[in-house]
């Protein structure tokens, strides 16, 4: 069954952080269909907890992060990830087409800034590009 094949972790593992369950489900499904393994967190605090929970953080290849979230919002969480896990590329996925925010996020070291609704191919391409950058860093 195509579904089972695509659910296998063949391309890498992506951490999806969004407070909306439906968005996590959509993004997760798109990524799984694209061949990625997916881990989900509902906000920045949960994501940080997850990354520090004993699992090897290097298991996460790419982080996709929303901006507007309760507890620890996206911008704060991204700063933390950049400081703690500088080799893990981060993609912002937000519904704000905000040029200033995009610029400041890219300055923070974010790899890509995607605005919802985002085409499936564009999202998969952004994750693959991020993954390649990660391999370049690693080598």
């Amino acid at each position: 069954m195509a579904w089972l094949v695509s659910e296998r972790s063949v391309e890498g593992r992506v951490l999806v952080i969004d407070d909306e369950e439906q968005i996590r489900k959509v993004v997760g499904t798109v990524l799984r269909k694209g061949g990625f393994d997916v881990v989900e967190a509902e906000d920045g605090a949960k994501a940080i907890e997850l990354l520090n929970s004993g699992d090897n953080p290097m298991m996460i290849d790419v982080i996709i992060c929303d901006i507007r979230m309760p507890h620890i919002n996206g911008t704060e969480a991204i700063k933390y990830f950049r400081a703690q896990y500088p080799s893990v590329p981060i993609i912002v996925l937000t519904a704000y087409p905000d040029f200033q925010l995009a610029t400041s996020m890219l300055k923070e070291g974010v790899t890509d800034y995607l605005v919802k609704p985002v085409d499936r191919e564009k999202m998969l391409m952004a994750v693959k590009n991020a993954m390649e950058k990660r391999s370049l860093f690693a080598t």
Binding site: I23, P70, H71, A95
Partner: protein, 343 residues
């Protein structure tokens, strides 16, 4: 009518149709300088009589019952009934002045004009507030739209009937969410000319919180509710919503989208008491007396019209209520609204 003392002018209104109602509505907001001491109409269902009862103003079923009332400074006759003028002339106390016929009509025209302008201003403020919400509304609409589009695509690609059902349910969920946003916006922007209805304050406060979420890109406001049992009050839901949306939006903006919003309703000393408190930077003692003044704003250009709290005060007074604010710099702000307990 010239009074030496600071006592409010005591006015009797004869006729509680459209003109009388508009006059009661206007004068009730000026309670510091005017007191309506009686309203009469032969029609027991006249709208002005209903409004007068709500504002605890004595009512009568005939003009004669009020005309001889002692201590009235002015009788305003908006009945349009020529025989009333003769009754007034015969029965009124010598010190009571009268306004009837053409002068009363002129007054009615001016009151109607003021009423229309006020309604326009109230609506304009609502739309201006909505304008500042636009980016956030677009954000909140985009998420479910994105989900609908993607889940529809998943269905197209899927053969497993269980998964197809699961995705269809997700689409329905997103649709419900979109509908709730649109319903909230419709309730808020509705013109305020509807009939008073029975309002449950906790529900309306929750609705106002949902609207005020649009005022910030942050999602980190903790809302703490202490809703004690209170009887429903009769009011225009749209006007009540505007009161709460204005105050809560100010609180959320003052806190820059991060902090605690505390909402409470209770009955205290024969009043329905609504409290809205925040943990924002507070209001300085110098600014505090100005906050209900029209066009006073501390917000950046384009963010506030400066009309919000002035309209809030007007609407609260319209329902016979009072509003007060307590604040200290660095210690948040607390608004308290008291409405008469519905009889």
């Amino acid at each position: 009518m010239d009074k030496e003392s600071d006592q409010p002018l005591k006015i009797i209104i004869l006729g509680a149709g459209k003109g009388g109602t508009a006059l009661i509505d206007l004068l009730a907001r000026e309670r510091d300088c005017v007191e309506v001491v009686g309203v009469a109409d032969t029609n027991p269902r006249a709208p002005g009589l209903c409004l007068a009862r709500k504002l605890n103003i004595p009512t009568a079923s005939s003009a004669a019952e009020l005309i001889g009332k002692n201590g009235a400074d002015l009788i305003v006759d908006v009945t349009g009934d020529a025989t009333i003028a003769a009754q007034i002339a015969e029965g009124k106390s010598p010190e009571t002045e009268t306004m009837s016929g053409t002068t009363a009509r002129l007054l009615w025209m001016l009151v109607r004009e003021e009423q229309e302008l006020r309604a326009q201003l109230t609506q304009a403020d609502k739309l201006a507030t909505l304008g500042t919400f636009a980016a956030q509304i677009a954000h909140d609409l985009k998420n479910p739209l994105y989900c609908i589009r993607e889940f529809a695509q998943f269905i197209e690609e899927e053969h497993d009937s269980d998964r197809i059902k699961e995705y269809s349910q997700e689409i329905l969920k997103a649709d419900q969410y979109l509908t709730s946003i649109v319903d909230g916006l419709t309730a808020y922007t509705r013109s305020t000319c509807s009939e008073p209805e029975s309002i449950r304050l906790p529900e309306l406060l929750d609705q106002a919180v949902k609207m005020s979420r649009f005022a910030t890109t942050s999602n980190a406001v903790e809302v703490v509710c202490d809703y004690q049992p209170v009887p429903p009050i009769r009011a225009d839901a749209s006007e009540m919503l505007q009161i709460f949306v204005n105050i809560i939006t100010n609180a959320v903006q003052a806190m820059n989208g991060q902090g605690r919003l505390m909402l409470g309703v209770k009955v205290e000393e024969e009043k329905v008491v609504i409290s809205i408190r925040d943990t924002g930077p507070g209001i300085s003692a110098a600014l505090l007396p100005k906050i209900f003044t029209p066009f006073f704003t501390t917000k950046e250009r384009g963010v506030g019209t400066g009309l919000g709290l002035s309209i809030v005060q007007t609407l609260v007074k319209k329902y016979g209520g009072e509003i007060e604010v307590e604040s200290e710099e660095g210690k948040g702000a607390a608004f308290t609204i008291r409405f008469p307990l519905p009889g």
